[in-house]
């Protein structure tokens, strides 16, 4: 364990953790858009900037990927930090001028209007979708293409991604709702990444369960009976209930 000081509060944290995790545990508010527990820190949104002091020297670092050290002094709301953060939020608000989530965030941190040229993007290129796909799902169905102002999240060569299993983790983690899942009658569509995958339906009630490729992926990963994969959650519950009743009535 190491001791660090966050906003003049001394806290004891595990070694090899990052400042942001330590602060979150103490309910100290540091905004972060590209950070998510369980994923490697990325350091792209730069909202989690804090000031650190180490042997008398101060500097600004991103708290999501700065490892804690004994005696580290952290200040999350100095004048410089707040000013920098506000301009970054203002830049984001200009990029996503119509996005609800970004508007809410801006309001929370006191930015009401962006003075920069407004665009109507939704994606802030935080990379959560890309990283969850690679690090958690173990696929690399999407990635970044282009650089600088041309950077965007897309599938390889902007073609329907062969790797995508349609699990929707990307959409689930997206902080701005830029990736949307549409379940059609037969297909799951994720338009932002050019993905379209047929759905599998419950063998009992006919409700959609999950995309075909996701079922195949799970079958490979686990050794569960085939039947389970083709039954929806609701029918599984009912089946269990029926079996329980049957068992109890026998007695």
């Amino acid at each position: 364990m190491v001791n660090i000081t966050v906003n003049s509060q001394i806290i004891s944290v595990k070694e090899k953790t990052y400042i942001l995790e330590a602060a979150k545990k103490q309910s100290i508010d540091i905004p972060a858009l590209c950070w998510q527990p369980g994923l490697e820190p990325h350091g792209a949104c730069r909202l989690c900037l804090v000031e650190i002091e180490k042997s008398g020297r101060k500097r600004m670092v991103t708290s999501c990927n700065y490892p804690v050290e004994e005696g580290l002094i952290v200040r999350t709301n100095t004048e410089e930090v707040v000013k920098t953060r506000k301009i970054i939020i203002e830049l984001l608000l200009a990029r996503c001028s119509t996005n609800k989530k970004i508007q809410e965030l801006a309001e929370k941190y006191g930015v009401t209007e962006s003075r920069f040229e407004k665009k109507e993007e939704d994606c802030i290129l935080c990379g959560l979708c890309v990283r969850v796909c690679r690090e958690i799902i173990g696929k690399e169905a999407i990635g970044f293409s282009g650089r600088g102002i041309y950077r965007k999240v897309t599938s390889p060569f902007e073609q329907p991604p062969q790797e995508c299993i349609g699990c929707g983790s990307c959409a689930f983690l997206c902080p701005t709702g830029a990736i949307k899942i549409e379940n059609g009658l037969n297909m799951r569509k994720i338009a932002e990444i050019n993905c379209e995958i047929p759905l599998v339906f419950c063998q009992y009630c006919g409700r959609p369960i999950a995309p075909l490729r996701q079922i195949e992926f799970l079958k490979e990963k686990t050794s569960l009976p085939e039947d389970i994969f083709y039954t929806c959650a609701e029918c599984k519950r009912k089946n269990y209930a029926r079996r329980l009743i049957a068992m109890s009535s026998k007695r």
């Binding site: 350091g43 792209a44 301009i87 830049l91 920069f116 650089r147 600088g148």
Partner: protein, 616 residues
């Protein structure tokens, strides 16, 4: 043939020297770096070969093709040894005369000699003012070395530093030597090289890597290209010494793919170094293995940043990561990695050869040794220069560079590439070293120096660099990506005459956020061109915004052309050249420009013989 120990190297060296001293042939040295080739040196070489064949001079003359010597302005040029006659600005047709007069006879052709400002003809290369004021420790030997021939390098004393190090020094002593010399990283950061090596040596993990960063991408900068093309072995020798000191067995050279000649020469040099036993197993008889692999970059500017470079070598997209855990601890494949710039590596054999005492005498208190700059822009003598640290900008621009071309006035000097800043005339007395330049709001960078004259619009310059960076930023972090694109929009607005007074504050605010908040050095320094021009040339911004005027006459929307009727002779030259027929007038009577039709191309201004067209 392998050279197995220091006495073998010594013998080999002595034999080479004896062989050269016995040689009765004349040597024609032709500078054929990329710059020389661009100026037509290949044609000169072909004519020399043809003429030598025709005149059967094989036994009397030898041709040595070298890399760039530095004075790119007067290329293509050649030097005839042993006399050292320097002929410049050559045409293929001149070759015949050179062979007839200077090789077959012993005459000097006056017309091909370099003429200095006072009109004096100069015979020897070393007497030219451009070279005289320099201290050419690294570039000086370029003229003696054919980069495709390792013997030329050995004859210049090459690989003797390595031999000394492996024979007489412990790794720690090498590090100590470099630390004492005060050598600092030449890539731009200026981190003390010895300390970096020490940190990397101390890192517990294994294996360790050394990398040579040759991904030079600054507009107008070609120092590393010059070294790689002309003297690749000096870099290889430096890397072997570094690897021995650090305890590494694997080296990489990361070269940008846009340098085909450098890649070609480096490949040859690496193979020759392997053949001679300087790379591979048991180097110089010592139980030490080291080899170097070359990796070609894919053309991204950001890959010059150390962590992005590492990602690129690993086969990942070239994006930087946070350096809170430094690359000397966890770099390539997560292992300790020492990255140095081409020029830093090339300095290493020099430090060992001369000893730290002599090396540290050159330069200033905090910046030691010499630095290579590429002096380009509106200057009389463009080229690669090598000067001791601490020399003033004025000496560089006026004594070495010969002043501003076309008798214009000096306006600014941009140092440090896109991450550097523009310094005005008032700062010309500034000593050139790492710290002075940073304090003034610019930086040493890797060594680009772009000289600007009075016809340069500083707002336009800032916009140019911001445009370059917005395309070349990796786009990972918000302040850099969004900040640059916002800055570009604002600067475009100002140059188009739609700027508002608040725009200057906005630019400063974005600069602030980028400096504090960006992930890598590209982002934190990207605002320097804007910040420094705002600081030193604020009046130009104000003229653009308030008076809707571009003082340098560059920004098209803010420039107006008019014909002064008292000076106009009515020759009709402007009328004929105007692409949109905006000029009217009868012959021999003053003409006039219809401002609503004018597209500000400036053709009339250029074509008028009587200076009757005015730009304002």
């Amino acid at each position: 043939m392998k050279i197995k120990n220091s006495s073998e190297l010594k013998n080999y060296y002595e034999n080479l020297i004896i062989k050269t001293s016995k040689r009765e042939k004349r040597t024609i040295v032709l500078s054929m770096g990329t710059c020389g080739i661009a100026r037509g040196a290949s044609d000169i070489l072909n004519s020399i070969k043809k003429e030598v064949r025709k005149r059967k001079l094989h036994n009397r003359v030898e041709i040595r093709v070298t890399g760039c010597h530095g004075f790119c302005e007067v290329e293509p040029f050649l030097i005839i040894y042993p006399q050292g006659i320097f002929y410049c600005k050559l045409q293929p047709a001149d070759v015949r005369q050179i062979l007839m007069e200077s090789i077959e006879k012993n005459n000097i052709i006056e017309r091909l000699l370099y003429t200095d400002e006072k009109g004096k003809k100069i015979i020897k290369e070393t007497d030219i003012p451009f070279y005289k004021k320099q201290m050419r420790l690294l570039l000086g030997s370029n003229r003696f070395i054919d980069p495709a021939n390792i013997d030329d390098y050995i004859a210049q004393g090459g690989y003797q530093s390595l031999s000394y190090v492996l024979g007489n020094m412990q790794p720690e002593e090498v590090i100590e030597e470099i630390k004492k010399s005060g050598l600092r990283g030449r890539g731009g950061g200026g981190f003390p090289t010895g300390r970096k090596w020490e940190l990397c040596r101390r890192a517990p993990e294994f294996p360790k890597y050394v990398i040579c960063n040759a991904d030079e991408g600054d507009p107008g900068a070609y120092m590393d290209r010059g070294l790689l093309e002309a003297n690749p072995h000096s870099i290889i020798e430096g890397m072997i010494i570094g690897a021995y000191a650090i305890g590494s067995n694997y080296g990489y050279v990361y070269v940008r793919n846009e340098y085909p000649l450098a890649i070609h020469h480096l490949n040859i040099a690496l193979q020759q170094a392997r053949d001679y036993g300087f790379l591979g197993d048991d180097i110089m008889g010592k139980d030490f293995y080291f080899d170097i692999e070359m990796v070609k970059g894919g053309g991204a500017f950001v890959c010059g940043e150390s962590t992005a470079l590492i990602a690129s070598i690993e086969g990942k997209p070239g994006e930087p990561r946070a350096k809170y855990i430094h690359t000397v601890e966890a770099g390539l494949y997560g292992k300790p990695t020492n990255i140095n710039n081409v020029e830093t590596w090339a300095n290493v054999p020099l430090v060992i050869k001369n000893g730290w005492q002599r090396y540290s005498k050159i330069g200033t208190e905090t910046s030691k040794g010499t630095k290579i700059f590429s002096l380009v822009g509106k200057i009389k003598n463009s080229g690669l220069i090598e000067v001791p640290m601490g020399i003033t900008l004025k000496q560089i621009v006026f004594d070495i560079g010969g002043g501003i071309a076309n008798s214009k006035r000096f306006k600014a000097i941009q140092t440090g590439g896109p991450s550097g800043g523009c310094l005005p005339e008032a700062h010309l007395d500034l000593p050139v070293d790492f710290d002075s330049l940073s304090e003034a709001g610019s930086m040493m960078g890797s060594g680009g120096m772009i000289v600007m004259d009075e016809d340069t619009c500083m707002v336009d310059v800032a916009r140019y660099f911001v445009n370059f960076l917005k395309e070349e930023s990796c786009g990972k972090c918000v302040p850099c990506r969004e900040g640059l694109s916002a800055m570009f929009e604002i600067l475009t607005r100002i140059t188009e005459g739609n700027g508002k007074h608040e725009d200057m504050d906005l630019l400063e605010e974005i600069s602030f956020a980028m400096k504090n908040g960006s992930l890598c050095a590209l982002g934190t320094t990207a605002s320097n061109p804007v910040f420094s021009t705002l600081k030193y040339f604020r009046d130009e911004y104000i003229a653009h915004i308030e008076k809707k005027r571009c003082p340098a006459g560059v920004c098209k929307n803010l420039v107006h052309y008019e014909i002064m009727s008292d000076a106009c002779r009515g020759c009709g030259a402007c009328l004929k050249i105007c692409p949109v027929s905006a000029i009217q007038g009868e012959k021999k009577k003053p003409h006039s420009i219809d401002d609503t039709k004018c597209i500000r191309c400036g053709e009339c201004f250029e074509v008028c013989k009587f200076s009757a067209v005015r730009r304002k």
